[in-house]
């Protein structure tokens, strides 16, 4: 991650947080706005509802007042009626009655009319009163106000049978201002006016009503708001209005009075009506406010939760994303490593060819460099492959039995070599009781141990590396699982305390400045840790920076064979000795070996190389023959050539294994091949071979192979004296020879190749190192010349390129085994062209063929020349 990335990530996270905050505030504000709106609505609704109730209440009040007025009027009518009754009984004359009506009331007048409207007594009425009179004569009592006159109360007066007169009393307008029908003074909080609906004027004012009064409207000279009240009164008996436009504090009301043309109009204070209800209103608003606060708190809480939830969601997504990416990376690595390994193997294989055949010293040096770099690369790729296998869960442990001593042996050899190269001491300390036979994954155990030891060697500039294997137990039984401790102690650079945590993490390399010269992927320990964990073990590290580290691996291992390893150092020495005393170190007269090769020269080589071991050797030249022989008798080892006409080695082996009447079902079969590139061994092993030998056969390798695969009972060691003598003599020689082989021979080879076709040195190496053998081979080679050339010519003629390739292959290997390196090289070129023709792409076939045709004669000439040289130089006779 570079700084830009981290800045971007920081920005993104800041933006996100800001976004959350904005959203939170936004939503909060929306809610607040909504609540505010609702609050306002609630308030206005409540006010409306309250006003509606107030109006209703005041309407009732108005109706009550109108009833009161009516009762007031009714009292007057009742008084009149009583006088009328008195008159009916004949006790009073109309004049008496009218006088009685107004008795003591200066502001009142009275009168009486008959059914024709004629005045019988008292004061006359204006003509507007005719309807009231008519109704009175029909029996109805009523009160009516007439402009300029006053309020007139009228009752019927009965005659003999029916109604004869109408009696009335007039309350003069002047008197109404002061004396009659004043209600507001009496009890009510309201101010009440009696209003004439027909004349549209105030009949009875309340006290103080006048031009300076609050409710007097100077524009219309009428009470305030009377228009609205009257227009509503048309549809109802009583009405009330509370409107701030008319008056802010007072409610207006009106109600008509029955049986009159009058109505009451009044004003009552709003607060006096709603006094108690207002408290309820306030309580509701207060509770609502509290709810709003509560809601805000809740909303805040919900948002915080949401924020957290979203953050954790993002984290989860990021983690999933990372896991997916990691898996994809592992798979990619696994695939890539595999893909890289294949061509790399080819490169290394070809490089091996170059190593063998290159003549120039510098060329050799380059090839060596290629080899070492290539191997490093391969090991890195293997590391990556392992790692990605572990990561993607594809790594599986194999359960097989193995020998601990063999494992330790290999490790010892490998580490010792590296330590020696760096000038370090390498000690190995194995407890003698350690069992030898275990079950488990040998390869992974080896990998773990080699990794920690290699690491130790890598990071130790001087001093020593000590490898200790121990166990708490001293006695072991088969089938038990024992916890073994593998301790690697070095005097290296050590690990800083702070770096210990990073030690086992992948791709981390510690102390980079200081270790920049040390190559590696940083995967080694990471793989090791994972492998150890897979095997159920633990790994610990103790270290003092600058003084060295101790890696302790504890692994539970299952014992299969409790036989102790014994003195490992002694065994190692023994082994080394065995390695060195390869020559004639054993005889096996009882052993039977079958060698199969289509090339009789190769057969002869093998035969002669094994002559000293007194092994009984059978030879045959084809797969079919081999199968026949296997049917006939038992062999202890079978050497089987790979490239043969008709049936090649692999096919032969398949058939042999499938053959039920074979006597060699358990016999180890070792492949012989001239294609000695890396990866070939694995190929052969996978096809069922037990091992392989590369041609030309190295005598030492051959003997080792035979010794390894022969049953122990058949092998007899030669007498110690002679062997030790041999050893003392031969080993240094061999070593010296090997050393020189790396430097000097190249020059001699180079020198020789310029003048001779036959490289005696090389020839000797493949012929057991003795001149007579070499000569014998040369003779054989010369003898076969005619036959071989004939076969080649025939194949050429018949254009049987398969046969041609097989035959030229034989030329390649046989000529090399007698030291005819140039011929071998040329033959190899033809062989490769042949292979390319047979297996290669279609468009190149023509080119390959023309190459063979061009160079065939050249090679044949060289063949002839070689035979000539053999004759002249070594005196070979045909």
């Amino acid at each position: 991650m570079n700084p830009n990335d981290s800045n971007e990530a920081k920005d993104a996270s800041q933006r996100r947080t800001l976004g959350f905050a904005m959203r939170m505030i936004g939503q909060f504000l929306i809610f607040l706005l909504v609540l505010f709106g609702i609050g306002t609505l609630l308030h206005s609704k409540m006010s409306d509802a309250l006003n509606v109730e107030v109006e209703k209440f005041v309407v009732r009040q108005a109706e009550q007042i109108s009833l009161t007025y009516r009762e007031l009027f009714q009292n007057e009518l009742d008084l009149l009626e009583k006088l009328a009754d008195v008159m009916e009984s004949g006790k009073l004359s109309p004049d008496d009655v009218t006088a009685a009506v107004i008795h003591g009331e200066p502001m009142a007048q009275a009168g009486m009319v008959d059914m024709y409207g004629r005045l019988v007594a008292g004061t006359p009425l204006p003509p507007e009163s005719k309807l009231q009179m008519a109704e009175a004569l029909q029996g109805r009592q009523s009160i009516h106000h007439y402009k300029g006159v006053g309020v007139v109360a009228m009752v019927p007066v009965k005659g003999v049978q029916n109604i004869r007169y109408a009696l009335y009393k007039i309350y003069l307008d002047q008197g109404l201002q002061e004396d009659y029908f004043h209600l507001s003074d009496k009890s009510h909080e309201a101010k009440v006016l009696l209003y004439d609906l027909n004349e549209e004027r105030v009949v009875v004012p309340y006290k103080g009503y006048g031009e300076n009064d609050r409710f007097y409207d100077p524009a219309t000279k009428l009470p305030k708001g009377v228009d609205q009240l009257l227009s509503r009164l048309e549809n109802a008996h009583g009405v009330a209005i509370f409107s701030p436009e008319i008056d802010e504090d007072y409610v207006l009301f009106a109600s008509d009075i029955k049986d009159t043309n009058c109505a009451v109009i009044g004003y009552t204070e709003w607060h006096s009506v709603v006094d108690g209800i207002l408290h309820i209103h306030m309580i509701v608003l207060w509770v609502f406010g509290l709810l709003v606060v509560l809601f805000c708190v809740f909303v805040l809480y919900a948002f915080t939760n949401k924020l957290q939830a979203e953050e954790s969601k993002e984290l989860r997504e990021a983690r999933d994303e990372a896991l997916r990416a990691n898996r994809a990376k592992s798979e990619f690595l696994a695939n890539m490593s595999h893909e890289i390994r294949t061509p790399l193997n080819a490169v290394l294989g070809m490089n091996e060819m170059i190593l063998r055949e290159a003549k120039g010293a510098s060329l050799q040096k380059y090839a060596w460099n290629v080899k070492s770099a290539g191997e490093t690369l391969l090991s890195l790729i293997n590391d990556i492959l392992d790692f990605s296998k572990i990561e993607s869960g594809k790594m599986e442990l194999v359960d097989a039995s193995y020998s601990m001593s063999s494992v330790l042996n290999d490790i010892y050899n490998m580490v010792k070599y590296k330590a020696d190269q760096k000038g370090l001491e390498f000690h190995i300390d194995v407890m003698p009781e350690l069992p030898d036979g275990f079950r488990g994954d040998e390869v992974r155990l080896r990998q773990v141990l080699v990794n920690i030891l290699n690491n130790a060697v890598k990071y130790t500039p001087k001093g020593s590396v000590t490898f200790t294997i121990r166990s708490a137990l001293k006695e072991f039984r088969a089938g038990e699982t024992v916890m073994l401790e593998f301790v690697s102690k070095d005097t290296g650079i050590g690990i800083r305390e702070a770096d210990k945590g990073k030690l086992f993490s992948q791709f981390e390399r510690l102390d980079i400045k200081r270790n920049r010269n040390i190559e590696g992927t940083g995967l080694g320990l990471s793989i090791t840790v994972r492998l150890v964990r897979m095997m159920g073990g633990t790994i610990d590290v103790e270290s003092v920076y600058g003084e060295g580290s101790v890696f302790t691996v504890r692994l539970p291992l299952r014992i299969e064979n409790p036989e102790p390893v014994g003195d490992f150092l002694a065994r190692v020495e023994e082994f080394v000795r065995q390695q060195n005393s390869y020559r004639e170190s054993f005889v096996a007269p009882g052993a039977k070996v079958l060698v199969v090769d289509d090339n009789d020269m190769n057969l002869t080589v093998v035969e002669s190389l094994l002559a000293k071991t007194k092994v009984q050797i059978d030879c045959c030249m084809s797969g079919r023959e081999c199968l026949a022989k296997m049917r006939q008798q038992h062999y202890d080892i079978v050497f089987l050539d790979h490239m043969m006409p008709e049936m090649d080695g692999i096919e032969t082996l398949e058939k042999a294994k499938a053959m039920k009447d074979s006597k060699c079902l358990d016999t180890p079969v070792i492949a012989l091949t001239a294609n000695a590139i890396s990866g070939v061994k694995e190929m052969f092993l996978s096809k069922g071979f037990d091992d392989y030998l590369s041609k030309p056969v190295d005598s030492r390798a051959l003997e080792r192979m035979v010794q390894k695969y022969l049953p122990a009972g058949l092998v007899q060691a030669v007498e110690p004296q002679s062997s030790s003598e041999e050893e003392n003599g031969a080993a240094p020689q061999a070593e010296a020879k090997e050393e020189t082989a790396q430097t000097e021979p190249k020059e001699t080879q180079e020198a020789a190749s310029s003048s001779y076709l036959i490289d005696q040195e090389a020839g000797l190496k493949f012929c057991g190192g003795t001149e007579p053998m070499h000569l014998r081979f040369l003779a054989m080679f010369c003898q076969r010349k005619e036959a071989v050339q004939n076969k080649l010519e025939t194949a050429m003629r018949e254009e049987n390129w398969k046969d041609y390739t097989t035959h030229i292959h034989a030329v390649k290997s046989t000529s090399l085994s007698i030291g005819g390196t140039q011929l071998s090289e040329a033959a190899k070129a033809l062989e490769m062209a042949g292979h390319a023709y047979l297996d290669g792409p279609e468009e190149e076939k023509e080119r390959q063929l023309s190459y063979i045709r061009e160079h065939h004669a050249e090679v044949m000439e060289m063949y002839d020349a070689l035979i000539e040289e053999a004759k002249e130089r070594f005196g070979v006779e045909i």
Binding site: A12, R15, R16, G19, R23, G26, Q27, I30, F31, V34, G37, I38, L41, L42, K45, M46, D48, A49, V52, E63, L67, D114, M115, Y116, G117, K130, L131, M133, A134, E135, L137, Q138, G139, R140, P156, G159, V160, Q161, N162, I163, R164, N235, A236, H237, G238, K258, E314
Partner: protein
């Protein structure tokens, strides 16, 4: 990039979510506040009208239903009209129970026949106001009786008939003898006699408020007896149709039909005004049991047919009307009934209460005709 997209998406979703949330919340609260705070919370004022006949029958049923509908529309009442509710059966009870369950607070009975049946229910549901259409008797304090005071207009129609007749024989039809039918017949007769003292006034009972066959027969009989103009009192306008068919001039009841050649005038009732006043009435506070209004309250009028009357007729009818307005009493002065007894003496007026409930006599000069 991923996170930016996610963020955008979230923002969009968030905005939509918030708005929807806010709207739903607002709506919920607004509705609830509105419901509880507004008028909706109080039960809608609803009114029911119960009719015996189909509500579109010409005559009272249609006029009453229309007037009621107009009054309710004007005052903002919800109206349920239940028509074809048979009188004297259980149907009325069931209908009323159903209406009360629906929340109806005022029930108007269009047919006088219901009054006695409903009395029990009126006691059972004191919170419900019952209004019975019956001018005559009052049955219960729980029921308000309402009717139209037709007699002033009957008088005027009598004046018109007296002026209009050529033969001097005026016809009249009414369902059966009762206080309100006698009252109207008497007023009609007094009207005729006021302009044509020598006129014969023939009348016939038709038996029911609605009895088309008998009504037809009555018109036929009147025609046979020589009547050339007639008035009538019935629930429907079947008589008018019959008179039109036979070719006798008539004064229609309920509504003027302008196309009819023999219709000279019609007594029209402003039911809208009647029901408006009834609905406005706060019965409990006013303690009223009877609503009886007529000419002076502009509830009824005599609608003269344009072009069917002579100017003299129109002028004299107009004069009679203004006489009434200026205090002329119909049932006043010297009134002798059929049996010869004096019902009113000179200089006196019969009170409205007597006119309304105790009219058990007919004035001298009216003749009942019998079928032969």
């Amino acid at each position: 990039m991923m996170s930016v997209k996610f963020w955008d998406m979230l923002t969009k979703r968030f905005v939509v979510f918030s708005i929807v949330q806010a709207l739903v919340l607002c709506l919920c609260i607004f509705l609830s506040v509105n419901h509880f705070g507004g008028d909706g919370w109080q039960r809608t004022k609803s009114v029911a009208l119960i009719l015996a006949s189909p509500k579109d029958t010409e005559g009272w049923p249609r006029e009453i239903a229309l007037g009621m509908q107009q009054a309710c529309d004007e005052l903002g009442y919800e109206l349920y009209i239940e028509d074809e509710v048979a009188v004297g059966s259980d149907a009325c009870h069931q209908v009323i129970e159903k209406l009360i369950a629906r929340g109806v607070k005022r029930i108007f009975l269009a047919n006088p026949g219901y009054q006695k049946e409903v009395e029990v229910l009126a006691r059972k549901y004191p919170q419900v106001s019952f209004f019975a259409n019956s001018a005559g008797e009052t049955v219960s304090d729980e029921i308000l009786n309402y009717s139209v005071r037709y007699y002033d207009v009957r008088y005027l129609s009598g004046v018109l008939a007296g002026l209009h007749t050529k033969t001097g024989i005026v016809g009249y039809a009414a369902p059966f003898p009762a206080s309100e039918t006698r009252r109207d017949l008497n007023a009609f007769a007094l009207g005729v006699q006021s302009v044509r003292p020598d006129a014969r006034i023939l009348f016939r009972w038709t038996g029911q408020w609605i009895s088309p066959a008998k009504e037809h027969e009555a018109v036929y009989l009147l025609k046979m007896q020589g009547a050339d103009v007639m008035g009538y009192f019935a629930a429907t306008q079947a008589i008018a149709a019959a008179a039109e068919e036979i070719g006798m001039d008539y004064i229609d009841f309920h509504r003027l039909r302008s196309g009819n050649a023999h219709c000279i005038a019609a007594i029209e009732t402003d039911w809208r005004m009647v029901y408006t006043e009834l609905l406005r009435m706060n019965r409990r506070s006013e303690g009223e049991h009877v609503y009886w209004k007529g000419l002076f309250d502009d509830v009824v009028c005599l609608h003269l047919q344009n072009g069917a009357l002579t100017p003299r007729e129109e002028a004299l009818v107009g004069r009679a009307r203004s006489a009434l307005w200026s205090g002329h009493q119909i049932f006043s002065g010297n009134i002798i009934d059929q049996s010869g007894s004096r019902r009113c003496m000179e200089g006196e007026v019969i009170s409205n209460s007597d006119v309304r409930t105790h009219m058990d006599w007919l004035v001298r000069g009216v003749e009942s005709i019998e079928s032969k």
